[in-house]
Structures are given as structure tokens and as C-alpha cells.
């Protein structure tokens, strides 16, 4: 990126009077101030949580986190407890693993199916194509909460129409219930993934596709050899989007994840506070464990995220 609109330094410009230059520098100062202010405001709440997660229980209860600087106190006990306690509600390490096991297929499956669907919706002619696309777009807003009970019923009772069993009950138990979570995430992730990928897929150069077609390539070959490589940046950004959603999800994991032992981290976070909420002082440490992984992934992959999103959105 070049400093094309940079205002951080104010060298004299040709034909600029001294007054204009001062005014420009002043407004640049204000701009800096506002930018720094926003950055600080946006960071402080998370920073407070971070500080609090290392303070002893009694301190969290009694005083604000800023007291850390005047009356320092430090403990790793809360982290130790929430990660490795064998008590009910402790032992988040296990749930952290659940989250990982849930997240990988929870991203891979919907993104794969979405890219297939997006290709068909963008480049294969068939009747009702637009209607189908619009319907899928509209499905984005079906509230997840209303789909929980029917979907759970589908898993645990199977599907039968007029007495004919079309699909038997799944009868999953223990860690197997995680499979239900994969399926649920696939379902809830598809509409947005298809929408974004369709935006992107549609923008692929038509003449390249046409040329491949004239060379005798079939749809499945064009999909694999032409379309897929071209949409990789978009795939990456949508995968990151889905990753964040799955990792941070609460309701899906809670509903489909079987028992406490097989639910993801975010779903059990709130239960740490104990029967009557007396143990809420454990929440900062637990929350920090839950947010640290997506934060790191996010920071590292930010570039891909932006690139893909933008490609889909600039045209709109």
C-alpha cells in the first residue's frame, strides 16, 4: 500500500500557503487522536478481562481490574481450575478438544458442499435456478432457535412419512453425538456460504469458462480445474467466517452435543459459575481460554479473510 492519501506527515505542497499547511497538520492531529482513541476504546474491555483472569477470586469480587496496577496480585489458580479440575463444570481442557473436533468438519463439510452448489447455481443452466438461489439466500434468516427442536427430533426419532421409515433414528451416544453437531453446523452454515461463494463464482471471467468448454472440458472438469483454483481466496475467507462461527457457537453445540463431556467450550462456559452463580469469578479465565484460539487464527489469516470478502462484495 502506498501513502497516497497519507496525512501522517505534512510536507509543504506546491502552492500551499502557510495557513493551509497548519490547518492541514491540525486536522491531521485530530485525526490521529480520534484513531488512537477508537483503538484504545476497542481494546480496553478485552484487556480488562485478560487482567482479571489472573487475579485471585476475592480480588475479582471486591475490586476492579485496574487495581492490579496499584495493588498487584497474580494467580494461575483459576486457569488451573477451569482447565483441569475433575469437578463438574471444571476440566475445560476436554471441551477445548471437543471444540477442535467439532470445528474441523464443521468448516470443511459446509464449505465443500457450498462451493459445489455455488458452481451449479452460477454456471450450469437449468430451470428454476434463480428461484433456488433466492430461496437459499432467504434461508439465511430462518432463526436457528426455531430449527433446534425439529432437527433434534430428526436425529433422535428418525424420519417416517405415513408410517414408512425413510430414515431410522440415529441412536448416537457418547462422543458420537458430535456427528450431530457436524451435521447441524453444515446446515446452518450453508446459506451464507452459498450466498458469498455464488457472489464470487459469478464474477469469474465468462470467456475463460467458455474457452474451457470449447476445448471439450466437462462441467466436472471445469469445476475442478478452472473454477476451484480461481475461487480459492474466497474459499479461504468463507472458511474463516465459518470457523469463527462454529468455534464461537453456543446454541448448536449445547443442543446437539450430547452431554457436558461432549459439548464444545463455549456451550459450557456459562455453567462454570455453579448452581447459584456464586463461582462467576472463574468466568474471565474460562472466557479467555475460549477466545484466544480464534483471536490467533484470526490475526494470522486476516489478510485472506479480507481479500475473499472483498472480492465477493465490491461488485455486489
Amino acid at each position: 500500500m502506498s501513502a497516497k492519501t497519507s496525512a501522517s506527515e505534512a510536507p509543504a505542497k506546491i502552492g500551499e500557503s502557510r495557513g493551509e499547511r497548519i490547518r492541514r497538520m491540525l486536522s491531521s492531529r485530530t485525526a490521529s487522536l480520534v484513531a488512537v482513541l477508537i483503538a484504545v476504546l476497542w481494546t480496553i474491555p478485552t484487556f480488562g478481562l485478560f487482567v482479571n483472569s489472573f487475579r485471585p477470586t476475592d480480588d475479582i469480587r471486591a475490586t476492579g481490574w485496574w487495581k492490579m496496577f496499584t495493588e498487584p496480585s497474580f494467580t494461575l489458580e483459576t486457569y488451573n481450575y477451569v482447565l483441569y479440575s475433575t469437578s463438574q463444570g471444571g476440566g475445560l481442557a476436554r471441551n477445548l478438544i471437543n471444540t477442535v473436533v467439532i470445528t474441523i468438519p464443521g468448516v470443511v463439510i459446509p464449505v465443500t458442499f457450498a462451493v459445489m452448489a455455488a458452481y451449479a447455481l452460477s454456471w450450469i443452466e437449468f430451470r428454476g435456478r434463480n428461484l433456488l438461489y433466492i430461496s437459499i439466500f432467504a434461508l439465511q434468516v430462518v432463526p436457528l432457535q426455531m430449527a433446534l427442536i425439529p432437527l433434534l427430533s430428526f436425529f433422535s426419532r428418525g424420519l417416517s412419512i405415513g408410517g414408512v421409515t425413510i430414515m431410522p433414528a440415529w441412536e448416537l451416544s457418547g462422543v458420537q453425538t458430535i456427528v450431530q453437531v457436524w451435521v447441524a453446523h453444515t446446515i446452518f452454515g450453508l446459506p451464507l456460504a452459498i450466498f458469498l461463494l455464488h457472489n464470487f463464482m459469478r464474477e469469474l471471467p465468462g470467456d475463460v469458462m467458455e474457452a474451457a468448454r470449447i476445448d471439450g472440458a466437462s462441467h466436472s472438469q471445469i469445476f475442478r480445474k478452472v473454477a476451484l483454483p480461481l475461487v480459492t481466496p474466497a474459499l479461504a475467507s468463507i472458511a474463516i467466517f465459518q470457523f469463527l462461527w462454529v468455534w464461537n457457537d453456543f446454541l448448536v453445540g449445547r443442543t446437539f452435543g450430547g452431554g457436558l463431556a461432549t459439548q464444545p467450550l463455549t456451550a459450557v462456559l456459562g455453567d462454570l459459575a455453579g448452581t447459584r452463580g456464586f463461582g462467576w469469578t472463574r468466568l474471565p479465565a474460562a472466557a479467555f481460554i475460549a477466545i484466544i484460539v480464534p483471536l490467533i487464527v484470526f490475526l494470522l489469516l486476516q489478510r485472506y479473510f479480507v481479500r475473499g470478502l472483498l472480492a465477493g462484495s465490491v461488485k455486489g
Binding site: M1, T5, L132, S220, L269
Partner: protein, 324 residues
């Protein structure tokens, strides 16, 4: 945690991934065969099959079920026509929920987009731009549950002892009486919105900042030479050039706002007149056990998105016209 906990879970992961790969290969094989015989409709069918199947079971059926349920009573045993809708539009607390939701979907997309744009402009080309961006972008990676815990330490109010919430401590430092923020209507609604805005501004900043870099320098230079001042350039050149990016940001935030549930759930449980549709729907259907009312709230929520869907239909049409 024991070693079997690990092997069980990762074993399942492995089996799952292998099974998925097998399904994928089978599908692709059939598509390949169909392609060779030039039956493109069959290819489309195979490519769309998994997605459509999943969506039909997991979203279409529940949506239809919800629509029917909204005409039935508490436990679905009796048809009551439009009674639930009558309740939603006349009951004071239901109305409050609708008003709050209306406020949310106006304020949050507007403020998030505007702040994101302002920040993107302010940091554009500045030294350390990436760090600036990353700091504001961070909250996007944080779950709503996590965010609610974070903000609890901002809004917390203590009636008798020392304040542990930052906002009240600031008031104490400047000598003002602390306020019980989350219990105080109507400001509590706006404070909850702040949490969502805090999350969404980063998204807006990043997308808009990238869009800004796509605005050709020549146009801006040309405008400057023509004697336009900064604000004129901003409003007449920059904003129109990134219009579509602004719209995408606003629509995305709009949908996220409509579906917002966790923040209200975790911070106020909808008490003190802070309820919104997506939370009330859950509360009615699951906590209070009133399936009919919950479904009605869901239908209303869906109705609010229809304008966006229509806008999207219009977009698709326009693009097809352009493509011709």
C-alpha cells in the same frame, strides 16, 4: 482428562473426515460420468443435492413448521387463528420487544458502518495501519458469550462497595454517582447495542478499508485539482465509489443484528425492557414453554428481512441484465 478422551475424539474426527471424503468422491464420480455424457442438468442436480437435502431437513421444514405453529396455542393443541399475532402487536411487553428490535436494526448497522468508515478513513495510509486495524478487528473473533463476560466488567454496578465495572469507576473518579446501567431503561438497550457495535465495527473497517484502497487515486487527484475540499471529495467521490461495499457491510450487519440472541441472553435475559425478537422468541418457546408465541415472534423476524430479500432479487435481476 484421560488418554481415552483424546483417542475417542480424534478417532471420531478421523473416521468422519474419511467418510466425508468417500461420499465426496462418490458424488464427484457420478458427476464426472454425467458430464461426459453431456447431461448438464444431472450434474447440476448432483452438485446441488447435498446442500438442498441438508437445507430442506434443517431449515425449510422447520420454517414451515414454525409458520403453522404460530397459528396454534401454547402447546400446539388448538388452532387459535391470529391470536398470537394480536398478542404480539398489543401486549405491552411484546410491543416493547418489537420497538427495541426496530431500534437495534436501525442503530447497530448505521453506527457500525459509519464508525467503520470513519476509522477506515482515519487510518488509511497511516503508519501502523495494520496494527490499528487488528486492534479494532479483534472483537470479531470473540464469541458473543465471551463478549458478554468482557462487557460485564464494564457495566457492572455495585450498590454498596467499591465499583468493579469500569464505566462506574470512571463516574466515581470524576465524582458522579454510579449508575446501575443494565437495569436502567432506556439506556440499557443502547449499552447492549454497544457490545454488538464493538464486534461489528471491525468487520466494517476491514471491508471498507480494503474498498477504499480500490478507489483510483487519479479521480481523487482530479477532484482536488478542480478545487474540491476534503469533505467534498469524501462525500462526492470516495463514498459513491465504495457504495456497494458499504451496502454489503450494512446488510450483513443488519442480518446479524436481527438474529442477535446471545448478548441479551447473557447480559439481561431480556429483563428491564431490553428484550429483542430473536431472544424473546427463544424465551417464549423454550423457557416459558409457549410454542405458539415463540413461533409468532420468529415469523415476525422473518418478515422483517423480506425487504432485504427483495433488494437481493432486484440485484440478481440487474446483474443478469448487465451480463447479457
Amino acid at each position: 482428562m484421560e488418554i481415552t478422551d483424546l483417542t475417542d475424539r480424534f478417532g471420531l474426527l478421523l473416521v468422519g473426515l474419511v467418510a466425508f471424503a468417500a461420499v465426496l468422491m462418490a458424488l464427484y464420480g457420478i458427476a464426472e460420468l454425467a458430464s461426459r455424457r453431456n447431461r448438464s442438468k444431472l450434474v447440476a442436480f448432483i452438485f446441488l443435492l447435498p446442500a438442498v437435502l441438508f437445507l430442506a431437513v434443517g431449515l425449510v421444514y422447520p420454517a414451515i413448521r414454525t409458520l403453522f405453529m404460530s397459528f396454534y396455542n401454547k402447546d400446539g393443541s388448538e388452532f387459535i387463528g391470529l391470536d398470537n399475532y394480536h398478542w404480539a402487536l398489543t401486549d405491552p411487553s411484546a410491543l416493547q420487544t418489537l420497538i427495541n428490535t426496530a431500534l437495534w436494526i436501525i442503530v447497530v448497522p448505521l453506527v457500525s458502518t459509519a464508525l467503520g468508515l470513519l476509522y477506515a478513513v482515519l487510518i488509511d495510509g497511516r503508519r501502523g495501519e495494520r496494527t490499528y486495524k487488528a486492534l479494532v478487528f479483534l472483537p470479531m473473533g470473540i464469541s458473543f458469550v465471551g463478549a458478554s463476560i468482557i462487557w460485564r466488567f464494564v457495566y457492572q454496578y455495585n450498590g454498596t462497595g467499591e465499583q468493579i465495572g469500569l464505566l462506574n469507576q470512571l463516574l466515581v473518579w470524576v465524582g458522579i454517582e454510579p449508575v446501575n446501567w443494565l437495569n436502567t431503561f432506556p439506556i440499557n438497550n443502547f449499552l447492549l447495542m454497544v457490545v454488538l457495535i464493538w464486534i461489528e465495527v471491525g468487520f466494517a473497517t476491514v471491508v471498507l478499508s480494503a474498498a477504499l484502497k480500490g478507489v483510483p487515486t487519479e479521480i481523487i487527484e482530479a477532484a482536488r485539482i478542480d478545487g474540491a475540499n476534503s469533505s467534498q471529495i469524501f462525500w462526492n467521490v470516495t463514498v459513491p465509489s465504495i457504495r456497494s461495499a458499504i451496502i454489503v457491510v450494512a446488510v450483513t450487519v443488519f442480518i446479524a443484528t436481527l438474529k442477535l440472541f446471545d448478548i441479551v441472553r447473557a447480559m439481561t435475559r431480556g429483563e428491564h425492557k431490553t428484550d429483542v425478537l430473536a431472544h424473546n422468541m427463544w424465551d417464549q418457546a423454550l423457557r416459558l414453554g409457549n410454542d405458539g408465541r415463540g413461533a409468532t415472534m420468529a415469523v415476525l423476524l422473518f418478515a422483517l428481512v423480506i425487504p432485504v430479500v427483495i433488494y437481493q432479487v432486484y440485484n440478481v435481476r440487474r446483474q443478469q441484465l448487465e451480463a447479457r
